[in-house]
Amino acid sequence: MKTSMNSKRNSKAYLYLAPWIIGMLVLQLYPFVVSIYYSLCNYTGLADPVFIGADNYIRLFTKDKEFQKSLWATVQYTLYTVPCKIIMSLLIALLLNKGRKGIGAMRTLYYLPSLFGGSIAVAILWKVMFMDNGLVNALLNLVGIETVSFFGNPKTALPTLSSLEVWQFGSSMVMFLAALKQVPASLYEAARIDGAGRLRSFFSVTIPQISPIIFFCIIMQTVNALQNFTSAFVITAGGPVKSTYMLGLKLYNDGFLYNKMGYASATSWIIFILVVGFTLVLFASSKFWVFYGDES
């Protein structure tokens, strides 16, 4: 009787889960698996794929100079974005971790940009703000600084694009805020008794206590940054002079503009390997700086 009840409950659970499971199988797992095969084929998307072995991968690394530029742009973008976003969100979380009047409204305000994450509208807003006749240049001109061609200059385009991602620091901030609340006050008190100042307390108590969250945020942000597409596509289209032509955009152009779906699949696998590689390195480094409360 009990087994039958359990089985019935399980069936119901699977029924509720079915939309997600079907979606995952059809929209994620199938493309994931089939892209391995396509990456080994000459496939235009219009005719049947023709198996060519590892040619796409060999071409990517030996002949495609654009791929090397894209890879470098993607790594640069990640290096600009992740540390800045983590530092920014941690600093704001520290500021908001105080019981002040109207703190709830402040937290909401700082979180707002993240609600628009990855949206086309925000990318367009950024483009307009940083144009030669945009708001940012108008403010710079007010204080006597000459107009900067943020998205027209290959040297400034990528950092400006990164600033959009950094601006959307809300989700990391909320996690840091939650982590900061969990740090026992007794630890700060003990540190104070031992003669530690605010800075020493921050580095010796706060950082180790919230290190698992820092670690989690770094991984999440790295994964996001390596897959950037929307802002590069909408704001700069990869320019100027390919300075913002990141791998996600190259993949899109190869697949949907040049009808090289097989080649684009190979690029997507390189991105995947890059993401896994970065993650593994971070995991390997974590034993030196991440402190888990349940560790002896």
């Binding site: 994931f32 005719a47 061609s149 002079v241 503009l257 593994l280 349940d294």
Partner: protein, 452 residues
């Protein structure tokens, strides 16, 4: 701890998987169209299919602005009134992502029955066999100029696979008020080097002014493809994947481009980049600080509307002294074609016949797709006073020339991207002309090798 790490790692990997999702897709159904190219409907020798009279729903997709959307929807409505058994589902948007969407629709076999086609992509679509042979339908071609059809939409096949939507060509839209003040005469015939001399005159007149407003998307076809057509009388790349342009010629062409930017004939590339191909949004154009903008006849109305305080004219085009051919061509702004896998080719042709040949459609469409492609529709527009005089003048100027279309391999998306990158590298001063020429040769040779 270990277990948690492993779980976290797996979760991270699952997140990363999402990036790969975009690259999969349903395999294209194998049809003669999918791998055989043009033979899909060509040469069957069958008599044109007649509409069945049954209830039919067709999908029609196009891109454009509000005026084009409203006019096209009005034509659809008028057609449906005349043919109550045929329902047209309209799918319209801006150009952003339009061609990419078509690629996925072709791959999944779900493309609309009728769709607008970007001119440069027409030959690629034809080669990939996604276009229906319209010569085998009952479409009435009698209102079109035969040579115009041969040049536009046949892709060398002898059959009509796409119908040009209008007449268009490269154009130089001149701020005549400023040009007259400086003493620049665009009505004379001149060569490419003249740009440099005029550019210097403009800088002497006012260092904040430039001779040319040039965005990369329009400037590359203007300064590279047209230059090659004049130099060699041939396109940069032939259909049989051979090159007509040599490395020395590329160097010569890129040297001209470098001089245009070094001498401030063109506005700096870094300044123009954020505006994309929307020259009319450039505050310097609105303020009347350019003598001219290079682009297409279809740009004439938006450019002139952006600053109506000055007088405009369509200038003559540059032709090199030893040109084999004047290189400037009057072609079309886009095509409309029918999907090779449509279930209702006869009904699609019936709609297109109404769209192109009926008086009602000509009145409703006006010039929303540039100057109409048939004389009949042009006359109707003139009677309605719907033709923008500047657009008409720019089309008239482009018709003075006897160039040929290089539409084909040279205009394919990948070759275009290679040439645009080279133009960018030279205009930004990132590469010397010889260096850019060597890189272009390497990339074009690689493209030819892969596609052979």
């Amino acid at each position: 701890m270990k277990k948690r790490q492993v779980v976290s790692l797996i979760l991270s990997a699952v997140m990363a998987v999402s990036v790969l999702s975009g690259c999969g897709g349903k395999e294209a159904e194998k049809t003669p169209a999918a791998d055989g190219g043009a033979e899909t409907t060509e040469g069957t020798g069958e008599t044109p299919q007649e509409p069945s009279g049954e209830d039919v729903t067709l999908r029609f997709s196009w891109w454009g602005g509000d005026a084009r959307h409203e006019a096209t929807l009005a034509v659809i409505e008028a057609f449906e009134k005349e043919h109550p058994n045929i329902h047209i589902e309209a799918e319209y948007s801006s150009y952003d992502g339009y061609s990419e969407k078509k690629t996925t629709e072709f791959a999944s076999g779900t493309a609309p029955d009728i769709f607008q086609i970007e001119t440069g992509l027409g030959p690629e679509y034809y080669k990939n066999g996604v276009l229906y042979n319209l010569s085998e339908t009952s479409f009435d071609w009698s209102n079109f100029d035969e040579n115009f059809l041969i040049q536009n939409g046949q892709f060398g096949s002898g059959s009509q696979y796409a119908i040009p939507t209008g007449q268009a060509g490269s154009a130089i839209i001149v701020n005549k008020t400023l040009a007259d003040k400086i003493g620049i005469d665009f009505t004379q015939q001149y060569d490419w080097d003249q740009f440099i001399e005029w550019g210097k005159m403009v800088q002497d007149y006012d260092p904040e002014c430039y001779l040319i407003s040039a965005n990369t998307s329009y400037a590359m076809p203007f300064f590279v493809r047209a230059w090659c057509r004049q130099k060699n009388g041939k396109p940069i790349m032939n259909e049989d994947l051979t090159l007509n342009m040599t490395e020395e010629q590329f160097t010569e062409c890129f040297t001209l481009i470098k001089e245009l930017y070094d001498n401030k004939v063109c506005a700096p590339a870094s300044y123009k980049a954020p505006f994309g191909d929307q020259d009319q949004e450039d505050p310097n154009w609105i303020a009347g600080k350019y003598v001219c903008a290079i682009g297409y006849t279809s740009s004439a109305d938006v450019l002139s509307a952006a600053n109506d305080t000055v007088e405009y004219m369509a200038g003559n085009m540059p032709v090199m002294a030893d040109a084999v051919n004047d290189g400037w061509v009057n072609d079309c702004p886009q095509y409309i074609g029918v999907y090779a896998k449509t279930q209702h080719p006869a009904e699609a042709a019936l709609f297109l016949d109404y769209f192109y040949n009926s008086d009602e459609a000509a009145k409703l469409l006006g010039t929303v797709r540039s100057v109409p492609p048939t004389e009949k529709a042009r006359n109707i527009c003139e009677e309605m006073d719907a033709l923008n005089p500047l657009t008409k003048q720019s089309v008239d100027v482009s018709m003075q020339y006897n160039g040929f279309s290089d539409s084909g391999r040279t205009t394919s998306s990948e070759v275009t991207a290679i040439l645009v990158d080279a133009y960018d590298n030279v205009s930004y001063g990132q590469m010397e002309p010889a260096e850019a020429a060597a890189e272009v040769m390497e990339l074009l040779n690689d493209y030819m090798e892969v596609n052979k």
